[in-house]
């Protein structure tokens, strides 16, 4: 299993992602954003951070990095792409995922553990989890308020493409459990082909017992299970 962690100027969760991917057995490379090819990987991770200082809009400049063209191409071939936090913002800006992430409802940068309800497991990113399971995972963002037009939301719901929503400790998706004002408590979505997943929370920061929660392992365990299976097939 080969994984690439893309580095943009301003990425700052690249080391965390690399560390966790290696723990899970991925042969993992860092790829600088000026690379023109992201071919040859089973998984491409766009890590969190503040690419290009969030100038203009979060992810707006990173999406035009040379490597992104190749990532769009790889995604169209079915390669798995995971965008975390700023990575999710870049995926939305690039059009690989629909919608946009705007300023948090209350204007603050929020850094805290939240509860996420697993909404769907028929995808490579949460296949080993269960629908309804509650994951404790940290968020750390100022622009995580997901927004999309009515037609897009309808499609996301109809096709079960909302993979995680903010919930309370008991798994109830309520307005009170919504940290940033995201439409319908949406924390993460996938594309129609189900091989591109973007989410604001940081599963890579919840993989080690020293870090309060290990619930983020669900994502990486699922990736290993998925890629292991496709390899055996």
């Amino acid at each position: 299993m080969r994984a690439a962690v893309i580095r943009f100027p301003g990425s700052n969760c690249d080391q965390d992602c690399h560390f966790v991917l290696r723990e899970f057995g991925f042969d993992t490379d860092f790829l600088w954003h000026k690379e023109t090819s992201a071919a040859g990987y089973d998984l491409i991770v766009l890590p969190g951070g503040f690419s290009y200082g969030d100038y203009l809009r979060c992810g707006a400049i990173a999406r035009f990095s040379p490597v992104m063209k190749s990532i769009v191409e790889q995604a169209s071939k079915g390669v798995l792409v995971l965008g975390i936090c700023n990575g999710f913002q870049i995926l939305c800006e690039s059009g690989l995922l629909p919608g946009a992430l705007i300023r948090n409802r209350d204007m603050h940068f929020i850094c805290e553990h939240v509860s996420l309800r697993v909404e769907n497991t028929a995808n490579p990113f949460l296949s080993t989890s269960e629908v309804g399971r509650v994951l404790r995972v940290p968020i750390a963002h100022g622009e995580g308020n997901y927004i999309a037009d009515t037609e897009t939301l309808r499609a996301l719901n109809a096709e079960n493409r909302v993979l995680v929503r903010y919930c309370d400790g008991a798994g109830r998706v309520t307005p009170e459990a919504n940290p940033n004002g995201a439409t319908e408590n949406i924390a993460g979505i996938c594309n129609a082909q189900r091989n591109v997943f973007g989410l604001m929370p940081h599963p890579e920061r919840a993989c080690d017992g020293a870090l309060l929660s290990t619930d983020g392992r669900a994502v990486f365990e699922s990736l290993v299970a998925t890629l292991g299976k496709s390899r055996a097939a």
Partner: protein, 76 residues
């Protein structure tokens, strides 16, 4: 040529920054403030006048059509 690009959040989109500024203005003694929207303005100086290209860049880079509208004002 000089151009101004004004990027504003779409009317249908909640603008949390605008709401925060509206509240601050009310606290500053203007209770009648109904609405504030915060956008940004870019001043651009460019050789030549490829208006079509400028519009393309406004749409693809300077604004995000999902949540923002832009206005391009050319000052020749």
């Amino acid at each position: 040529m000089k151009a101004k690009v004004i990027v504003m959040p779409k009317l249908s989109i909640l603008d949390p920054q605008g709401v925060a500024v509206r509240e601050a203005m009310r606290h500053h003694g203007l209770p009648g403030v109904k609405s504030v929207r915060v956008g940004k303005m870019l001043e651009v100086e460019v050789d030549g006048a490829d208006e079509a290209k400028l519009h393309e860049i406004c749409r693809d880079l300077l604004s995000n059509p999902v949540v923002e509208d832009y206005e391009l004002v050319l000052e020749k």
